[in-house]
């Protein structure tokens, strides 16, 4: 039987950097999505130019 090994939570500066980076990416994605929806009414679809 293996000795009981204590699992320690990694909570250091790198975790904070990852969390910050993730938050920035998420906020950027949300801002871009909001802007696209506001401009074109769509998020993932390419809007076609109006026909005259």
């Amino acid at each position: 039987m293996k000795p009981n090994k204590t699992v320690k939570t990694t909570s250091d500066i790198f975790t904070a950097i990852l969390a910050l980076s993730t938050g920035i990416v998420v906020a950027s994605a949300a801002f871009i999505a909001y802007t696209c929806f506001t401009y074109y009414g769509e998020i993932f679809k390419i809007v076609e130019a109006p026909r005259f």
Partner: protein, 290 residues
């Protein structure tokens, strides 16, 4: 955590932050193309409407311009016709003007000739006037001479009549004497006392001259230039070089100096003419005393 993991975490974090910032910056600064396209579509539609309106206006203006052009062409045609008519009229007027100038020059020449002729006529008239004045003076002198000759002739006729009467008287006296001689020769006494019928008249005796201090008064009978004939003559006491005053009412006209005297009229020359505007005329009073 290995070192590689840490490096990867840092690089991943940095790259994700960089890309996120780039994307956010791009999205934030880019334009709303849908809105732009919509605006451009509206602008294009507006331009198309304006183009159609302009086309319509162009057509209207073009048709109006065509109509005005036709009207102007007709007007130009009329003006050309009027221009040709005016050119003909101008040519005619020019011809008339030339004719009038020729006539003017001709008439000017005629007038110049007439002026010369009139000047010559004036000169001739003055000469004739002088000759007429001289002729009137000569006529007055001849009339005076004629009157004198008539008076002399009358005297001679009277003298001849007297001589004839005397001859007749002598013949009658001779006949009576012969009758008396015949009667005496027969021894008859002379009983009748006969006388010649014809009576011999004496010669007329010239009347003594009228006294010169008597006031003489007459009228003007004739006026010719500066020669004046008055109604009194030598029978009234007028003599040569007598000065008479011609008056008209209370107005003194001039003096005349007698140059020729007839029995019943005299002629003189005007002197001392005070007023040029008042000339002696027939009917004015003539007197040697004022």
């Amino acid at each position: 955590m290995s070192t590689l993991t840490k490096v990867l975490i840092v690089l991943l974090s940095l790259s994700s932050i960089f890309l996120s910032g780039t994307m956010v910056t791009f999205v934030a600064t880019t334009d709303n193309f849908k809105e732009l396209a919509k605006n451009q579509a509206e602008d294009i539609k507006t331009f198309q409407d304006e183009t159609a309106l302009f086309d319509q206006r162009y057509q209207e203006k073009s048709s109006q311009t065509d109509q005005e052009r036709n009207v102007l062409l007709a007007t130009i045609q009329d003006l050309k016709i009027q221009l040709s008519t005016l050119a003909l009229a101008k040519r005619k007027i020019q011809t008339d003007k030339d004719d009038i100038e020729i006539r003017y020059k001709t008439i000017s020449g005629i007038l110049t000739g007439l002026e010369s002729t009139i000047a010559i006529a004036h000169t001739t008239r003055d000469l004739i006037q002088d000759k007429l004045t001289k002729a009137l003076a000569d006529r007055t002198k001849l009339l005076a001479q004629l009157s004198t000759s008539e008076a002399n002739q009358s005297e001679k006729i009277v003298y001849i009549d007297k001589l004839n009467a005397n001859v007749k008287h002598l013949i009658e006296q001779k006949a009576i004497n012969e009758a008396k001689i015949a009667a005496l020769s027969r021894g008859n006494p002379i009983t009748s006392d006969e006388y010649p019928v014809t009576i011999v008249k004496d010669f007329a005796v010239e009347a003594p001259p009228a006294p010169t201090d008597v006031a003489l008064k007459g009228v003007v009978k004739e006026v010719s230039g500066k020669d004046v004939v008055i109604s009194i003559g030598s029978a009234d006491g007028v003599s040569k070089k007598t000065v008479f005053h011609i008056t008209r009412g209370d107005l003194f006209i001039c003096d005349i100096k007698i140059s020729s005297v007839d029995t019943n009229k005299s002629a003189g020359v005007v002197e001392l003419l005070l007023q040029d505007t008042e000339q002696p005329k027939i009917g004015d009073t003539v007197s040697n005393e004022l």
